[in-house]
Symmetry: D2
Subunit: 295 residues, 4 copies
């Protein structure tokens, strides 16, 4: 069994020793990116064993994306800048699971939050949660702090930088450092670039200054400490139970990327609640009958 | 094509004139309950046409369950009681889509919210959102207002009523009036029952008085006006586009309950955003390439 | 002793029988307006007895203005319109105690809240709480719902109505119905006025329609039930203790408007907490020494 | 003119060279503590010049206490511990201006917040804001994180430490390090004390471990960077305008502690709004007449 983060282990194994991959009971995978790679491998007909998608387990999603990255992204921004967030306009680009977490925490810190999205369903949900939703070009004029968290590239680029206010702060909380178009930013910095705090580079666009955090790398890792232990323990618990599942019920799943069984998710949640000292109810026998008796 | 709410039309048609059902292009269904019935029919091999599950469309879920019922449940409680919610302990039993909406709005009204759940994943999510999570028996001692929204039955029953404080308010926002065990409540009311406001019956449990709203019927319909028009228009838009889909692409789907195509969901969201005056971005050609080029 | 709401009783008494006012132990007054009148009377040297300013007691302020009017204003708007507040832009004109309550509850209902103010300190506070702060003319273009709560007049007038969106809702939560300039509104309604719901008049401004609630009268009284009992009991408790104070310690205060003694405020809060079942701590002897020993 | 923080300069001057103090135009004072000292000096008849109470200016209160300390206290706790706040029970002891800020931010970070108070009016306000209010002994059993912010001493002491859960975190955001009774904590630590992170000392109470942050010193200064620049600039602006006032209108105020004139407060707010790019309205001539014409 392999426990992977980014599918590096599984990729190498399949590339170099496919016969060993064939003999494996399976693996687990932590990241969206890793799952993309593994699914591509499977579509080419080359994946030889089952992979359980830890990244898509419900507990993992909630903790890792929404609460973990939500808190630590703000933590990274504060450690890098010591900026007062109350009273600022905070622009979140991307309203997926992670973007939601960042938007929620920014509002909780007193900021006025603007969301930018390309998916109308996500945009509508953001609006219904009371956030202002704007095209990025208009948000560019309004924002004091910008956080990209889309998974895409070139989210903030020349045309946005040109409209931003003096003093705006740029951070990335997506997986890679391509969400901010740094080449464009450098090209605009006719007044030069200087480091004003350990993790803050100030780009002088001929009078207006834009502050880039941590070189555009993932700000919660680069400027804070990444996820708190209370987030990682959930991830590891899902990995551990998923690995056990592959061993205890060997060869039940064919090659491919499979969801973590819901019962494991519930078990992780049950353990976590116990660690938080939270007790919950169980269905009575009569209630269980009622819920299963429809027909 | 049938547009159904509760599967009544489809049920009757399949029961009485299956050959007519056979000739239909399909139908749409609004409710969870209706989908349960249609899926049961399909499992018995008796469903003759495709049904699009409007109820499970993302836009529908967000508007109908979370925002629609969330607001109108509180509205019903206020119209029935004129109770000040700030400073009260508000207990939400059930943290599904609707329960989330109710809990969020109750907090927004200044109440201190307690959530009761039987599913550990939902319970954990509630706790992570900052709600207090308690077993119902302990919540019973603390609550000023109780709202059941589980879809189950007997959620609040004798053992809970016996622990409640004088003056507690009982309301149901689930589909049926079986979530509160009214027989048990009547049995405990040794001091009698009297109507204290048009929609409030006060049960006297020998000194402690419990206030039942709208006879335990769904409080947002029975005491307020149900969903606002801005919720219903989303439902109707999904129905309309789903019906059009069945007509424009006839016989593409076999008999069974099918999801509403994601592209229709996006179209509804796009139209709704336009009606709210909200504009959003589109992917650039380069971004689209980046997102689809992984491999 | 007189217990007054609007200083009507005290005014008549002083105007018609000043010698009787002279013999009074004093009075209490519930409203800002009443206090204005009494202070004016005192400045003219005509006030003959002490008045305790119930309106300015801390408990009264918190309950009456912030929580009472906050909740009931939204309640009035919902009963009048059944509008979904989530996703709307809700404009609060005036960020005094009451405006804060309305803004807080509107945000809690999922609206995106814009505040308009003329006092820079209040405007800054609103901004720091994460609200968007705009001049009324720009808010006029953005808002879906407008609530005036300034205590002034002509807050929304011709120039604002001319910029509003089709379907905008106008409500007043200030003391008098002069905050909305209804003459101007009528003058603009070239398309006529019609009642579209019992408490909603729709003004047709040649295509754009503005919806006036309750004829511009205070919306929480005109469209809902005014303050909940849990707000009024605090007011009455302050009145009762203030009246008792005037009787038990007669003639200690001279003619004039005096604050309610802080100890009465604390007593009301203590009783209210007890009624809510909330217990709090007391200082230890050592802590009391520490706090009073500075010098 | 003296600009003071803690009244150190004014104290020394009055003690050693009262005749110089006599010749001064006055001074300004930043802290509550300093004002206590100066008022005591004045009561002894020894204060020789006017002091403007910067600390009590409205802008200063809002920024410094509520928003500044609110954010930086949480920032200090996160930097010291990297704890996930969502899902935790966060106990705030003291609900003055600063306590409110801390409670608001802790809730905004996803924690479930409990408030402890001795003043019934403040306790009631906390409850009405939706916080749970408990006596400290009961909060001790429930809390995951404790922050003292009372200005008193011995707020958390032996009896509280004895009831706390394993892993509880103790921090102080009040002025002095006497709010946590460290002698009692040491006395209970039969299992020893060890440093587990740079600013975290873990006290082993025979199995249960309590984590003390920054040795009980003010956590926002000791573990983070104190107030953001956007808070300090408000303080300094109030000092500067107050000092100017003393120079431009010399000898208008007698010896004593005086409030900063409201017009200076408004000027600071006006400048701050401008720096945030926020515009507001002014009264029309007609509105001004209306507001001043009562009589």
């Amino acid at each position: 069994v392999t426990l992977d983060d980014g599918a590096d282990l599984a990729s190498v194994l399949h590339a170099t020793r496919p016969e060993a991959a064939e003999r494996m009971l399976g693996g687990t995978e932590e990241t969206t990116t890793g799952l993309l790679r593994l699914r591509a491998l499977h579509e080419e007909g080359r994946l030889r064993c089952p992979i359980l998608a830890v990244n898509e387990a419900r507990t993992e999603r909630v903790f890792n994306d929404r609460f973990g990255t939500g808190q630590s992204t703000l933590d990274g921004i504060l450690r890098a800048t010591n900026l007062l967030l109350a009273g600022r306009t905070f622009v979140v680009l991307g309203y997926g699971n992670t973007g939601r977490g960042v938007a929620q925490r920014a509002r909780g810190a007193g900021a006025s939050v603007v969301v930018c999205e390309i998916d109308p369903v996500a945009a509508l949900e953001a609006r219904m949660e009371g956030f202002e939703v704007l095209p990025a070009l208009r948000a560019a004029e309004r924002g004091d702090v910008f956080v990209t968290v889309t998974g895409g590239r070139g989210v903030l680029r020349r045309e946005h930088f040109e409209r931003m206010k003096d003093g705006a702060v740029l951070a990335n909380a997506g997986h890679f450092d391509v969400e901010l178009d740094l080449d464009a930013l450098r090209g605009l910095a006719t007044g030069g670039v200087r480091r004003v705090r350990p993790l803050v580079e100030q780009y002088d666009l001929g009078g207006r200054r834009l502050n880039l955090l941590a070189g555009g790398r993932v700000v919660n890792l680069a400027a804070a400490e990444g996820h708190p232990a209370a987030v990682m323990d959930v991830s590891f618990a899902v990995h551990a139970l998923a690995a056990e599942e592959l061993v205890v019920h060997p060869r039940e799943l064919g090659p491919g990327v499979h969801p973590v069984p819901a019962r494991l998710d519930r078990e992780v949640a049950r353990l976590k609640l116990a660690s938080l000292g939270v007790e919950i109810d169980e269905l009575t026998a009569e209630q269980e009958r009622y819920l299963t008796s429809w027909g």
